[in-house]
């Protein structure tokens, strides 16, 4: 594995937003938890971490037990503690939210995880070797979760990752403000101790063939994520920066990241918000988010929207970019048209229609697009059945190819893609794979 790059943003203005809870803060917060039975927070958590249990263990200073409780349900507990949209999940379901402040579950989870990582606590030992080999393609959250769960059960797992570093979006795609690279890589290191073999620079369809994998492994798990950022198909698109690359550079090579003075971010999802945050925090004087629908339809979480408004980012809703104006290779302006909302489209949201004669220019010198990622291209490459372009899986996460399983963003045809959903996919797929391999001898 490649060493962690030294030139990365962890101490600049993109360093972790929330400070860790002090021991006393954690104790007070833990005491506030009512310890609900069959708790709604646990129900709301896609990985169903026994939240009251780990919180009360913090209260009794059993941090080792607390960390174990978390990791038993979710091997990427340190990442999820930071990146989960807790307002929509555990904290959103907290019974204290009705009249009080919900328990800060995410931050308490981070407290327990930080303890485990800071103290090098080794919580799991792999079971007796089963002599079964599984290939996991893609070392993002779904892949790591699946690989870790399988390794715990005594299987021999090889993780193939096309990038230099494992961790997937945790390493490359989540703004450092929420998750520093170190956290993602520490998680990879912890899982490696379970005996995972991680091979980086290996990409299915390039230097890795599915047939070989099927021949050499007892099962394959695809956790390949999504493709590149969607194409806008407008003149001058070559001047537009890719949002995911923008985030990646801010995490791994921040010193060489050029930030415009006036920046436009196209899109209004969570990635777009991350891009706008980076631009704003690293020196842009004006950041505008451009979105073709209205505030109501934007896909970013409500708390993210609130956050970015506080950062001082502007919004231009019902605005569609049509053309980039550049001079001598540098961006001058973004031509846009106004939109109006029509009847619902395939996504169920009102379809935006251009307003005739409404074209106007936004004066900018940097444009970043974060308009969603392409569907996984591997699906067609491997001849897998798909569902709305995503890899289709059954209830046991098996694809249309027997013995080939999939999980994570690449199967997320329904619902919001998130790290924690990917972790749960990996965990459940690992169970299915284990059952299959054990049952079939």
């Amino acid at each position: 594995m490649t060493a962690i790059p030294q030139n990365r943003a962890s101490t600049n203005s993109l360093g972790e937003l929330l400070p860790p809870l002090t021991r006393n803060e954690a104790a007070v917060e833990s005491a506030r938890c009512l310890m609900c039975y069959d708790a709604p927070c646990t129900h709301a958590c896609p990985t169903h971490i026994d939240i009251p249990k780990f919180i009360k263990k913090i209260g009794t200073h059993n941090l080792r037990g607390s960390a174990r409780t978390i990791l038993e349900s979710n091997l990427l507990g340190a990442t999820c503690a930071r990146v989960c949209p807790v307002q929509e999940l555990c904290e959103g379901a907290c019974v204290l939210g009705v009249e009080h402040k919900p328990i800060a579950i995410g931050r308490l989870q981070r407290h327990a995880m930080d303890y485990a990582y800071a103290n090098g606590v080794s919580l799991f030992q792999p079971a007796k070797d089963t002599d079964k080999k599984i290939a996991v393609i893609g070392a993002g959250p779904a892949g790591l979760s699946c690989a870790g769960e399988l390794a715990k059960r005594g299987h021999s797992v090889t993780l193939f990752e096309k990038r230099d570093l494992a961790g997937g979006l945790s390493t490359y795609g989540i703004i450092g403000l929420r998750e520093p690279v170190e956290v993602a890589l520490a998680e990879v290191a912890m899982l490696s101790k379970l005996g995972l073999c991680i091979e980086t620079g290996k990409e299915l369809g390039t230097n890795l063939k599915l047939a070989d994998l099927q021949a050499n492994f007892n099962a394959v798990f695809l956790s390949v994520g999504l493709g590149i950022t969607t194409t806008l198909g407008i003149p001058g698109e070559e001047y537009i920066l890719d949002g995911l690359e923008y985030i990646e550079q801010s995490k791994l090579d921040a010193h060489n990241l050029v930030i415009g003075r006036k920046v436009v971010v196209i899109g209004a999802g969570n990635t777009a918000i991350d891009c706008a945050t980076i631009a704003k925090r690293l020196g842009a004087t004006q950041v505008t988010m451009v979105y073709r629908r209205s505030e109501k339809e934007m896909t970013a979480y409500a708390h993210e929207y609130e956050f970015i408004k506080r950062e001082g980012v502007r919004f231009s809703f019902l605005t569609q970019p049509v053309r980039v104006l550049a001079e001598n290779g540098s961006v001058q302006a973004l031509a846009c048209v106004r939109m109006s909302l029509g009847s619902p489209d395939a996504s169920g949201r009102p379809s935006p229609q251009p307003v005739a004669g409404s074209e106007f220019l936004l004066e900018v010198d940097q444009i970043v697009k974060a308009t969603g990622q392409e569907k996984p291209s591997l699906a067609s490459l491997l001849n897998l059945k798909t569902d709305k372009g995503y890899i289709q899986v059954g209830a046991n996460f098996e694809t249309s190819l027997p013995g080939v399983y999939a999980g994570g963003d690449c199967i997320r045809a329904r619902g919001a893609a998130s790290t924690v959903m990917a972790v749960q996919d990996g965990k459940l797929a690992a169970r299915s794979i284990h059952e299959r391999l054990v049952a079939h001898g």
Binding site: A27, V28, A31, R32, L34, M35, C36, Y37, D38, A39, P40, C41, H43, A44, C45, P46, H48, G59, Q87, E88, L89, C90, G92, A93, V95, L96, V98, E99, V420, M421, Q424, L428
Partner: protein
């Protein structure tokens, strides 16, 4: 506005709240400041025999985020020279004629020693004397404090010596470290004491340090039992106070009782008054928050008295005593059932698990469609706040099976969410005493008991 002033065995004070004999009344400087804050009286920290103290003398029990739910201490009586204490007592009393200045005393168990200390206290102009028969550590090992309080005969003997020379009211302070609090109280009555106070601290070990395996607090590698006080002991104190109020000898003597043991708020104080205390002493709450708390003690008590129509403290004293009784006299036909207010319920399910695991299994989880469901019955793939909230079952009491144990009511974190509804049982009132007097066999033979239940229609599932 209610009149908070009291006359306790002849000792007057503008309000019933006195500082108990303890570290807060260790010096004239402190008592001056306390009186400035509004305290009605102060019982000076016990003076008497020479002593030396140790460090790490206070331990504390914290629970959840509540600091100092109880304190324990191995501090001895005043370690300041007797002459200094007596001089300061005189100065304080001279400056604060309207406040109660009571002096706690403890000396060796000899008549002449007691005579001497009582005379010297009286010379200061103090309003009263409290005899410390309660200190459970250190002094007891020297034959004083609780070593006296635990033996009613010693109590009586020493109190008699004191009464021989006492010209001001004498209060006998009782130790709770005894099986029947009534016995030493009767001894005080027999010896002619003017008043009783209770409770002193309880024997306790606060804990063990899990790193060093030493006792907490650690005093040079050792630790041991110390006096336990604070909010945690209040129910014990209330019970002992009520026991005195219900004893014909003690209550018949009409001796006033100064109540203490965990009083932290005006509500606590009001409860002590209602169970028969006529002055109130406070220590741990002051050691936690300072003298300033007396303001709300008085303000809250006064407002409550106004609301309830009590004009003066004596109207409050003992008003709840007649409600205190023994199990033998409780109405076995009295029936209460729990009812959950669905509008207030936050669905924490604490009542459900308490009832289901440890009580009588009569709370059900009911799904939206009206069916009874088991906990954790959601799909493993379900997630998100909307799913968690919208599919969460509600908790309902099967009232026909509810024995009215009140556990759910006690665990519920929401105010007024669970009510204990009093419902007619349809049976005539009857006490265990009545049954055992009229149908003794029912109380001695399970077969007869079964028949009795059948006859009365008592079904316990």
């Amino acid at each position: 506005m209610a009149d908070l002033s009291i006359n306790f065995a002849g000792i007057r004070s503008p309000n019933p709240f006195w500082l108990a004999s303890a570290p807060p009344t260790n010096s004239g400087l402190q008592v001056h400041r306390a009186f400035e804050a509004g305290w009605g009286g102060a019982v000076w920290k016990t003076i008497g025999a020479p002593v030396l103290n140790v460090s790490n003398r206070y331990g504390a029990w914290h629970y959840g985020s509540q600091r100092m739910l109880a304190i324990n201490n191995v501090e001895l009586i005043s370690d300041r020279p007797l002459e200094v204490n007596l001089r300061e007592i005189r100065e304080v009393k001279r400056a604060w004629t309207d406040r109660a200045v009571v002096v706690s005393a403890m000396v060796e168990s000899k008549p002449e020693t007691w005579h001497d200390i009582i005379r010297r206290i009286q010379d200061t102009g103090a309003d009263g004397i409290e005899l410390n028969y309660g200190c459970p550590h250190g002094m007891s090992e020297r034959g004083m404090g609780s070593a006296v309080g635990q033996v009613p005969e010693y109590c009586e003997q020493i109190t008699r010596w004191v009464m021989d020379v006492a010209k001001i009211p004498v209060i006998v302070k009782l130790t709770p470290n005894i099986s029947d609090i009534v016995m030493p109280a009767r001894a005080a009555v027999a010896a002619g004491a003017n008043a009783i106070s209770l409770i002193n601290t309880l024997n306790s070990i606060i804990g063990v340090d899990l790193n060093t395996l030493e006792i907490t607090p650690n005093i040079g590698g050792k630790g041991g039992h110390g006096g336990y006080a604070g909010p945690a002991v209040k129910p014990i104190a209330l019970n002992m106070l009520a026991a005195l109020g219900r004893d014909p000898v003690v209550s018949g003597s009409k001796l006033p009782i100064s109540g203490m043991g965990g009083i932290s708020t005006w509500q606590d104080g009001a409860e002590f008054l209602l169970l028969g205390a006529s002055s109130l002493q406070v220590c741990t709450a002051v050691m936690h928050y300072g003298f300033r708390i007396v303001e709300d003690l008085c303000d809250g008590l006064s407002n409550w008295m106004d609301e309830k129509g009590f004009a003066k403290i004596s109207d409050v004293i003992g008003q709840s005593l007649h409600h205190v009784s023994d199990f033998n006299n409780f109405d076995l036909s009295f029936r209460a059932v729990a009812r959950i207010d669905q509008k207030k319920c936050i669905r924490c399910n604490l009542c459900y698990v308490a009832c289901n695991d440890t009580a009588h299994q009569c709370i059900d989880l009911i799904a939206k469609d009206g069916t009874v469901v088991q906990p954790y019955s959601y799909d493993i793939r379900a997630s998100g706040k909307d799913d968690a909230i919208s599919t969460r079952p509600s908790v309902h009491v099967r009232e026909e099976d509810c024995v009215g144990c009140r556990l759910c009511y006690n665990v519920c974190p929401v105010e007024d969410c669970i009510q204990m509804l009093e419902e007619p049982s349809g049976r005539p009132p009857v006490t265990w005493k009545q049954i055992s007097d009229s149908q003794r066999e029912v109380t001695e033979d399970w077969e007869k008991m079964k028949q009795y239940r059948e006859k009365m229609g008592i079904h316990i599932h």
